[in-house]
């Protein structure tokens, strides 16, 4: 519990968040974030807004995102509104998700 970073719905954060120092660390965003985020697992909940860059192992997006994502596996749920660029190896997009931008593979084979 202590190693989970949770950003509650009403909150506004602006800056850089780095959670890569501890293994298996998770960031759950329900609020509004602007800036850079580095973590192992990132979950952007429905209703959240994100503006900036994400570097993670796995990412799940249910909110509104504007920016660049670099992640090993990415899931966009039906409530996701995404605009920007995606760099990923594994991608899943649910029916209903709105995605615009570029998608490319992380590791070129």
């Amino acid at each position: 519990m202590a190693d989970v970073t949770y950003i509650s719905p009403e909150i506004k954060m602006d800056g850089t968040l780095d959670v890569t120092s501890a293994k298996g660390s998770t960031v759950v965003l329900a609020g509004h974030y602007k800036g850079e985020m580095r973590a192992v697992d990132v979950k952007l909940e429905t209703g959240s807004t994100f503006n900036g860059k994400i570097f993670a192992q796995s990412t799940e997006i249910g909110g509104k995102v504007n920016g660049d994502i670099q992640t090993k596996s990415l899931k966009l749920t039906s409530s996701a509104r995404f605009e920007g660029s995606i760099l990923t190896d594994e991608l899943a997009i649910d029916v209903g998700a709105e995605v615009s931008g570029s998608i490319s593979k992380l590791q070129k084979s």
């Binding site: 909150i11 850089t16 968040l17 959670v19």
Partner: protein, 135 residues
């Protein structure tokens, strides 16, 4: 309750601005200016920056300017900077290296309990009287 609370995890390092918060718990490292209702700095937590809060509980380390109604410094806490408070609890073992000011500016305090501020004024007067007596 736990769901609503913003938590900065033990491995997390945040640098920037936090606003519109109600309850924040810090187990990681935060360098930010925060206005909130309740802020907890856990044993593993490190906070640098200004805090404006109704209640601040410190078990970890803090450096900055704090303005709070109630401040609770736990035995493991390390504080430097400045604390402006209305009521303060300092546990045995707490490391305090800072400027401490009680009842910083009565006009600025939240007017939720008029009788409470009245009591504190009486307390201050008593303190002054006793110091005069000793001199």
């Amino acid at each position: 309750m736990a769901e609503k609370m913003t938590t900065i995890g033990a491995g997390a390092h945040f640098k920037g601005k936090i606003s519109n918060a109600s309850t924040i718990e810090v187990s990681g490292i935060v360098e930010a200016d925060v206005a909130t209702e309740k802020l907890t700095i856990n044993e593993t937590g490190k906070f640098g920056g200004s805090i404006n809060s109704k209640l601040v509980v410190v078990s970890g380390s803090y450096d900055g300017n704090m303005v709070a109604d109630s401040v609770w410094l736990m035995p493991s806490s390390r504080v430097s900077g400045e604390i402006k408070y209305k009521s303060l609890q300092l546990d045995r073992g707490a490391a305090l290296n800072c400027r401490v000011i009680q009842n910083w500016d009565e006009k600025e305090t939240i007017e939720d309990d008029a009788s409470n501020t009245g009591e504190q004024k009486v307390n201050e007067n008593n303190k002054q009287d006793s110091s005069v007596g000793k001199a």
